[in-house]
């Protein structure tokens, strides 16, 4: 691999890591649990990207398998969160009949 690809990979890692900041902000401020679950989903995608870039920078193709693994299982977390949210959602209070 040439210097160009390594340089591009480092720059890309920097850009992707910059993207962590807004996602973390959304994860902290919510406001609803669904927003936090979506931010977690996005974190998984960023993890895939960072694993692939690590493979380039470290020169080991094995890190790509980690990206493959996260891409395979990452959605399970989101689906589990979604089921939890659906089940835990507050039912609207029924108004007392006047």
């Amino acid at each position: 691999m040439s210097e160009l690809v390594i340089l591009a990979a480092k720059a890309a890692a920097l850009i992707v890591a910059l993207g962590l900041v807004p996602v973390a902000w959304r994860l902290i401020t919510g406001p609803s649990s669904a927003d936090r679950a979506i931010a977690t989903d996005m974190l998984g995608l960023i993890g895939v990207c960072l694993a692939a870039l690590t493979a380039l920078v470290a020169g080991h193709a094995a890190f790509l398998d980690i990206a493959l693994g996260i891409a395979l299982v990452g959605f399970l977390a989101a689906v589990a969160f979604a089921r939890l949210l659906e089940r835990a959602s507050v039912k609207p209070a029924t108004e007392p009949a006047e």
Partner: protein
């Protein structure tokens, strides 16, 4: 050749990283959970796919390229599942739709919960801009205590009229609103009463009950929201007019307020008032209601407060007609008229409606005596049978400036409804001012 591939790989890496960063920005910046989910799913997967392909190309071995392609394929397969589940969960949990959303296609299809977190608690508090704050904070921060309206200090009103202490003027909009506002102001000027202008009454858009075309949920919500916007506009115009008219008499005790309530909750607001001035046609869905459907009619039926329904401003009321029918509320008409102290000098004519019914003749004579005892000039007219003599009633009513009545009858949509005549509807069409005590 390999140079070209490396340049392509570098380009893919940078492009993919940029798209992922944009998706992250979208997750933070977009207004509601659904659009955030959209940014995370589509832009995120697209960016990560570009980046993975770039990484596979840069590594160059067939195994790496295959792994990258497999990862992209699994992302494309699984991301829709995740985002669909998340969006559905957000909807069911009751996450609010953003302000820009046009329609809620799932309304009525899925149950919605209550949004799980109080938005007022988590919303960031923005500091007020400095110039919006009043200059002299120390003095204006203290709420001004309301002086009791004192009729003795405000000119010389009639002795009896001091009974009216609080007048409420409903600002609904429509053709008769200006007349009603002016009448209320004139009355407040005459009695020194406290006048409240209440806008926003009956902000309850008419539900669409007809057949709906394709896309019915969208059109019905569009109809409801546009009718609500129209009602709000007319309310705002009426409030504006009220304030500009009220500015002409600064010595009066005048309050303007806006409450968005439905007609039933409005009744609770009105309970303490001595007189409620309503423009003609003020219905529960904004202006232009049929007489039987008006707020005035339903308030009179609920007997919350005396209602003055103004269609035109009569100037000086010279002749008052008292319509006495067979319903028990008609026995209290004269007492209600005397209590409000309206129309002191005008002679009162009592019209029995259908005096063959039980109790009408007694109520007529009792009220004539009561009015005479208070020094009013009273004449008792010949009885009318409303079911057949609507034209006579109309001709008779056109000679009077004011009417006092309860709701004599109501249309209830039965088989005989088309040949029944409603005295309230006839009177509402003809007489400029009606008092419903």
């Amino acid at each position: 050749m390999s140079d070209l591939i490396e340049i392509l790989a570098a380009f893919l890496l940078i492009a993919g990283a940029s798209v992922v960063a944009l998706a992250a920005l979208g997750v933070a910046r977009l207004p509601d959970p659904f659009s955030r989910m959209h940014a995370a799913a589509k832009a995120g997967v697209g960016g990560a796919g570009l980046l993975l392909l770039g990484a596979g190309l840069a590594l160059g071995t067939p195994g790496a390229i295959l792994t990258a392609i497999a990862a992209v394929a699994f992302l494309v397969l699984t991301a829709p599942i995740a985002s669909h589940a998340l969006g559905r969960a957000a909807y069911v949990a009751g996450a609010p739709l953003g302000a820009a959303s046009v329609a809620d296609a799932l309304a009525g299809v899925l149950d919605r919960g209550v949004f799980d977190i109080d938005p007022a608690r988590t919303a960031r508090r923005r500091p007020l801009p400095r110039d919006l704050l009043p200059k002299d904070n120390a003095m204006t921060a203290i709420p001004e205590f309301r002086r009791a309206a004192d009729p003795a200090s405000r000119g010389a009103p009639a002795a009896d009229a001091a009974a009216i202490r609080r007048i409420l003027c409903c600002l609904v909009g429509g053709a008769a609103q200006r007349e009603a506002t002016e009448a209320a102001l004139e009355m407040a000027r005459g009695t020194g009463a406290q006048l409240t202008g209440l806008s926003g009454a009956g902000l309850e858009p008419r539900a669409w009950r007809g057949p709906l075309p394709v896309g019915g949920a969208f059109w019905s919500s569009w109809l409801a929201s546009s009718s609500r916007a129209r009602i709000r506009q007319s309310c705002a115009a009426a409030l504006d007019e009220f304030q500009s008219l009220a500015a002409g008499s600064p010595d009066l005790d005048i309050v303007a307020r806006h409450e968005e309530t439905e007609a039933s909750a409005l009744a609770r607001l009105l309970a303490g008032q001595d007189l409620v001035v309503l423009p003609a046609g003020a219905g529960p869905h904004g202006a232009e209601a049929e007489p039987g459907m008006e707020i005035a009619a339903s308030l009179a039926r609920a007997r919350v407060a005396p209602v003055l329904r103004v269609a035109r401003r009569p100037g000086d009321v010279r002749a008052v007609l008292l319509l006495v029918g067979s319903s028990p509320a008609c026995g209290a008409l004269a007492a209600g008229l005397l209590r409000t102290g309206l129309w002191q000098g005008a002679p009162v004519a009592i019209l029995p409606v259908g005096d063959d019914r039980p109790g009408v003749a007694e109520m007529v004579s009792a009220q004539a005596e009561l009015l005479r005892a208070h020094g009013r000039k009273v004449t008792v007219l010949a009885s009318l049978d409303l079911d057949f003599e609507q034209e006579e009633l109309r001709r008779l009513l056109s000679r009077y400036d004011g009417a006092v009545m309860s709701r004599l009858s109501n249309r209830h949509g039965g088989f005989f409804d088309s040949i029944r005549n409603c005295a309230f509807e006839t009177t509402a069409d003809t007489v400029p001012v009606i008092l419903l005590p």
